[in-house]
């Protein structure tokens, strides 16, 4: 079943359009990745989707057309973004962040016990966060901050988890750890839309991928097919020049 459907989706900053009418679908329980070079419009797509950038086009979520809404409302609908740069609150503790993640649920009357359960679950997913629960977010390492950003998003029980470059600037070991958790979430049925520059990791995780270039979708499909598509190799980091000679040897 389609959870999210974007039709002729456009994002603009002032007079400049950066995403030019793309079609993207995400099915329930599936991981879909948007890949492509910097400036292709991946982040803008996510920001437009959560109401943080000016977007037009049809957005159908969970069978209903979404009118233009504020980030807070979309968050309540279950579209939750783990943003690039993490957007944490440096002087609040780890546990504050996680509880604030459930803030809008609590406001709508979610039972305390459910929140406590989720908290326990997030700590199980990221044991590092449990160790540092009383620590201020500003003192965490980059990897821990990323885990906290994901944990905070999970606390809201998202229907659709949007992730913007979760591997950015992180050491390989940490990246592997984060993708392990993402895999676990996927296995539990969380639907996610992932923007990644680390194409290898993203394609290993995802069921389907869209390749963006200059604000347009230039290819789409399952990862195996895409990897063979020469257009992809060219658009994405100029892989062609590297993989072709070494791949043929």
């Amino acid at each position: 079943m389609k959870l999210l459907e974007l039709r002729d989706f456009r994002v603009r900053y002032g007079a400049v359009e950066v995403v030019h009418g793309i079609h993207v679908e995400v099915n329930e329980g599936e991981a879909v990745t948007l890949i492509g070079p910097n400036g292709a419009g991946k982040t803008s797509t996510l920001l437009g989707l959560v109401g943080m950038a000016q977007a037009t086009g049809k957005v159908r979520f969970n069978g209903k057309l979404l009118p233009h809404r504020t980030p807070e409302q979309l968050h309540r609908d279950g579209i939750v973004l783990v943003p690039e740069g993490r957007e944490l609150f440096p002087t609040l503790t780890v546990e504050d962040h996680l509880r604030l993640g459930a803030f809008s649920r609590i406001q709508r009357g979610a039972p305390r016990s459910a929140v406590e359960e989720d908290l326990e679950w997030v700590y199980t997913l990221f044991p590092r966060l449990r160790e540092r629960r009383r620590q201020l977010a500003g003192t965490l390492s980059g990897g821990e901050q990323q885990m906290l950003a994901i944990g905070r998003a999970l606390m809201s029980r998202p229907r659709l988890l949007l992730l913007d470059e979760p591997s950015l600037g992180l050491a390989p070991l940490v990246v592997r750890e984060i993708f392990r958790v993402l895999g676990e979430l996927l296995a539990r049925g969380t639907t996610m839309l992932l923007v990644e520059q680390n194409a290898r990791m993203a394609l290993q995780l995802a069921d389907r991928a869209y390749v963006l270039e200059a604000g347009e979708v230039i290819a789409q499909g399952p990862p195996q097919t895409l990897l063979q598509d020469p257009r992809v190799a060219e658009a994405y980091l100029g892989l062609r020049r590297v993989t072709t000679p070494t791949g043929s040897s």
Binding site: A15, P37, G169, R241
Partner: protein, 588 residues
């Protein structure tokens, strides 16, 4: 042209106006002198002040005291008044120009309150609330300006002259610098603008305008008391400027004229409607202000302007600026980065990087997102101060210097997200690049000296030439905000070229471009490289990088992973693993 005809008409009206409207006209003109200061301060530089009436008061009382008590000539009084206003503005300005924008208005409120209290309470000097009367009328030679008609020529003349000056300043290097300060301080600093200094200068200039207005006020009414120089009055000037449209000179006149008229009507009308017990006009002013800020934040003028024919800039075909001397021969080390390290809190963004760029060389700086490339750029251009390590450029140690001191040595950059001024034309955006190659100061620009010397024309010609080099001349008159991404990137390059840099830093110039646009960009960069410009470029497009550069430096987690000729680096297994996301086993 229409605008100047309207002004000529205003002068022609002076002799035929009835006395009531003559007085009103004088108040409008004096008000316009104050609000033109706000045009410079708020409209151009994006700063604000609620203390303009206090500067007026300082000048008015100086005029009153020097002429009535000390027997000075009014012109000497003007001189002293301006000196005092300038000094007060320097003190107030210098403690606030480095701070966030809202400290200046807070400081001016405090200054305004303090001065109001002093005007009322220093009875022995100011006459307290009774004020000082019998200030002599001005005279120009044998002509006495006691008559409001003759004074009208002086006050309106002052307003028009200053408006002309403001227009000159707007279309000058300092005008562009001021608008850059408002739009984006980082860009302004990166193109050589000393932000605190420029902010201080424009604040002082606005205070001098207010001082002149205060002096005019004193000699027009020939009486001063604290009431017209209180916070309420300061507020009224801000409302005048904002109501008309603070970023356009006609808007300033429109707002000042309308609100002066409105004020006199309200003073007559409101007591009739509501009785005489309260200051209803103050309530009305507050509500008008709120309405404008919420419903038409850019003021009324834009609505009128929409019906006027658009103004075109004259594209300068004059002689461009003289090229800067090149002190060091080719292949000498131009830029040297030594053990550069930058920590943000606990995060090490750049860790002990060293590399050099020689004159005439094109070097690529590559690495995955988050590897610290842009941080490197910000360290080189002076936006960040390194935690450890040094940057040397053409024999100068530039690490630790602010960006506006680094840029003039010959480093120009582009930004990952284009940082342009959408409200300015393409040509004006590029002309900001010539800022550090030109010299005219704030006052020279105000009196049009830069145009008399031909410097401004040369700047525009240079800007036009830079546009030619990137092929955007057909868009010179368009507003930069309307350009699509690819052209915005070219525009950024043109702006950097206009500064005639020895080293060009390009931060992902190809990001977001389509294949054809990338090819055109590659051609442009190759032409620049062949022309001898040294380039340090960050990009992810390997086709672009590998076809262009002499050498590549690969960064990973803030450290240098590899360096060498493009072919060698492409085969380096560590680089493949780290940067391209291809594991060595898979690729081998």
């Amino acid at each position: 042209m229409i605008r100047w005809i309207l002004l000529a008409l205003a002068f022609a009206l002076i002799p035929v106006l009835p006395p009531f409207y003559l007085t009103l006209l004088n108040f409008m003109a004096i008000g316009a002198v104050v609000t033109l200061g706000l045009y410079l301060l708020t409209g151009l530089a994006g700063m604000s002040s609620f203390g303009q009436a206090a500067f007026m008061g300082l000048a008015a009382y100086t005029a009153a005291i020097t002429t009535t008590r000390w027997g000075w000539s009014p012109w000497m009084g003007l001189l002293l008044a301006l000196v005092l206003c300038g000094l007060a503005a320097v003190v107030l300005g210098s403690v606030t120009v480095r701070l966030k924008g809202h400290y200046l208005p807070l400081a001016t409120i405090a200054w305004q309150m303090a001065l109001s209290i002093l005007m009322g309470n220093l009875v022995s000097i100011t006459g307290g609330h009774g004020g000082i009367s019998e200030i002599p009328a001005l005279s120009l030679g044998p002509l006495s300006l006691r008559d409001p008609m003759w004074f009208g020529f002086l006050s309106l003349g002052c307003a028009v002259l200053l408006a002309w000056g403001c227009a000159q300043l707007t279309s000058s290097r300092m005008g562009r610098a001021l608008r850059a300060v408002r739009g984006d301080g980082v860009v302004a600093a990166s193109f050589g603008v000393n932000l605190p200094l420029v902010r201080l200068q424009v604040f002082v200039l606005a205070a001098l305008f207010a001082g002149l207005a205060g002096w005019l006020h004193a000699h027009f009414l020939r009486f001063v008391n604290p009431q017209p120089f209180g916070l309420e009055a300061s507020m009224r000037y801000v409302i005048m400027a904002v109501a008309g449209g603070v970023d356009r000179i006609p808007g300033i006149f429109l707002g000042t004229g309308l609100l002066t008229l409105l004020g006199s009507w309200l003073q007559d009308l409101l007591p009739v409607l509501f009785g005489r017990t309260a200051q209803y006009e103050v309530i009305a002013y507050g509500l008008i202000l709120a309405g404008i800020l919420i419903l038409a934040p850019r003021g009324l003028w834009p609505f009128l302007e929409a019906h006027l024919p658009p103004r075109r800039q004259i594209l300068s075909q004059g002689r461009p600026l003289p090229p800067p001397p090149i002190p060091i021969p080719r292949s000498e080390v131009l830029l040297e980065v030594r053990e550069l390290t930058k920590n943000f809190g606990g995060l090490v963004a750049v860790n002990g990087i060293s590399f050099v760029v020689r004159r005439g060389e094109v070097v690529g700086l590559i690495g995955p997102n988050g590897a610290g490339k842009t941080t490197c750029f910000n360290l080189i251009t002076g936006l960040y101060t390194p935690t450890r390590g040094e940057v040397w450029f053409a024999g100068h140690r530039i690490s630790g210097r602010p960006p506006f001191a680094v840029h003039p040595l010959g480093i120009a950059r582009t930004f990952q997200q284009p940082h342009l001024f959408g409200e300015l034309t393409v040509l004006e955006n590029v002309a900001l690049g010539t800022y550090s190659r030109t010299r005219s100061g704030m006052l020279a620009c105000l009196v049009g000296w830069d145009k008399l010397r031909g410097e401004e024309q040369a700047s525009m010609a240079e800007a036009y030439r830079a546009l030619e080099r990137v092929g955007l001349t057909h868009l010179a008159q368009e507003k930069a905000g309307k350009l699509p991404l690819a052209q915005q990137r070219l525009l950024e390059i043109a702006r950097a070229l206009a500064s005639s840099p020895q080293l060009l830093l390009l931060d992902e110039p190809a990001a977001g471009l389509r294949a054809r646009e990338k090819r055109e960009l590659a051609q442009l960069l190759r032409r620049l490289a062949e022309g001898g410009t040294s380039i340090l470029i960050v990009d992810h497009d390997m086709d672009l990088i590998m076809g262009l550069v002499d050498r590549v430096v690969v960064m990973h987690y803030g450290e240098k992973l590899a360096e060498g000729a493009p072919e060698g680096v492409q085969q380096n297994p560590q680089v493949l693993e780290a940067y391209l996301g291809v594991s060595v086993e898979a690729a081998g």
